[in-house]
Symmetry: C2
Subunit: 209 residues, 2 copies
DNA sequence: TAGCTCATGTAAGCGGTTACATGATTGC
DNA sequence: GCAATCATGTAACCGCTTACATGAGCTA
């Protein structure tokens, strides 16, 4: 029998949005893509599927509005047991999420590339992170214009949303700066005396104490 | 027919390790856990499974050494077509990896908790990131002691490994500082005039321009 | 006329986690 | 005696991506 399992993290993202107001799948999708997707990625098909599952689990109820010229609308409402599991999850301790960063993996093995290639790859990546950083800064400014100082706001969604946005800004800034720094170091290294062609020393690089 | 598919990112992690020297599954596992796992997480069972697949794809060869008191050892060697795909992957452009950070999701919905709970959750998390930061700093010091200044090293694995380690250090420092900052802000907010009990304003928080 | 918005779903296939399975040797 | 190390695999299940399926109304 499916749907007796514990809820997943995506479930809490959906329950969280629905704890603020009843929404259709499509509305959830739009809100998700404008905020949550930046720190918890999920695809459309998964969101629709999990909304269905949450209803079967009793954490959501839905009602359908018939429409003629487009598919019927299904609007979801959180149930009291939905609020309960959401509250439990929020109160629990979080372990740090496991990392998956392909750029770092490439950099780790960049010695297999010609020296210049690592430099330009790092510079390209720096630019991408500066682009995202600029986007986030624009949003921050827009929020300030629209709502005043978010950190003084009585609205919890605005306050905590701004905290998370600030993390995004710090992350992108850190990442872009690291890329630039790493590119410079790689450049200096390439420009130095011709690389020791003594072959790889096979140092077993470790990152644990 | 399986195993005609394009290689995955984990494949390149394994091919990368094997490009330096032939290794058994168990040796790969150990090296993986001491370095790569910090930026590309994978489980043991997956590593064994993908080694088998890489051999069926023709990117690895293996030979078995019979042993009596323990399971036979299988040692993998990278093939020339393995080196070829690894090189192609290294040279290609990387999109930024999609984010999955549960702590940020919780913080985003922290308005559903009593005010003090968000603060202590952020403080706990700050501590965990400071702990990891300290670990990384220890490794950095150990590498310096053992091999001298890694950024002047002729060994590519040591040089680029150190670049990646530095990213880890900057990431953990940034994260810990953000947690502290966010905790302080939340504390100040909680200590202010009694929260507006006007109910949620339902601001549709956005992070796109 | 081309593309965006509205609006929901399903299916196939693979990636990833967790648990099952086995068992001798070495060091505290 | 107990735990860690060595050493490999398999199986069940579920999450996640990608593609399939449909189609009207609006606006540049």
């Amino acid at each position: 029998m499916a749907d007796t399992a514990r809820p997943t993290t995506l479930h809490f993202a959906l329950l969280g949005l629905l704890s603020r107001r009843a929404l259709t799948g499509y509305e959830i999708l739009k809100r998700f893509r404008r905020s949550i997707v930046f720190f918890w990625h999920a695809e459309r098909s998964r969101i629709y599927a999990e909304l269905g599952r949450l209803e079967r689990l009793g954490f959501l109820r839905s009602e359908v509005t018939a429409q003629t010229s487009r598919p019927n609308q299904r609007r979801y409402t959180i149930t009291s047991s939905g609020r309960a599991v959401l509250g439990e999850w929020l109160a629990a301790a979080v372990p740090a999420s496991p990392m998956k960063d392909e750029m770092l993996l490439r950099t780790f093995f960049a010695d297999l590339l010609p020296p210049g290639a690592a430099v330009s790859s790092l510079r390209r990546h720096a630019q991408e992170h500066r682009r995202i950083l600029a986007e986030f800064e624009t949003i921050k400014a827009a929020l300030r214009t629209r709502y005043g100082s978010p950190l003084q706001s009585a609205d919890g969604a605005l306050f905590f949303g701004s905290l998370v946005l600030e993390q995004g800004i710090r992350f992108e800034r850190m990442y872009a700066e690291w890329c630039e720094w790493a590119a410079q170091r790689s450049e200096l290294r390439g420009a130095g005396p011709a690389a020791d062609t003594a072959g790889p020393a096979d140092i077993d690089f470790i990152m644990t104490a």
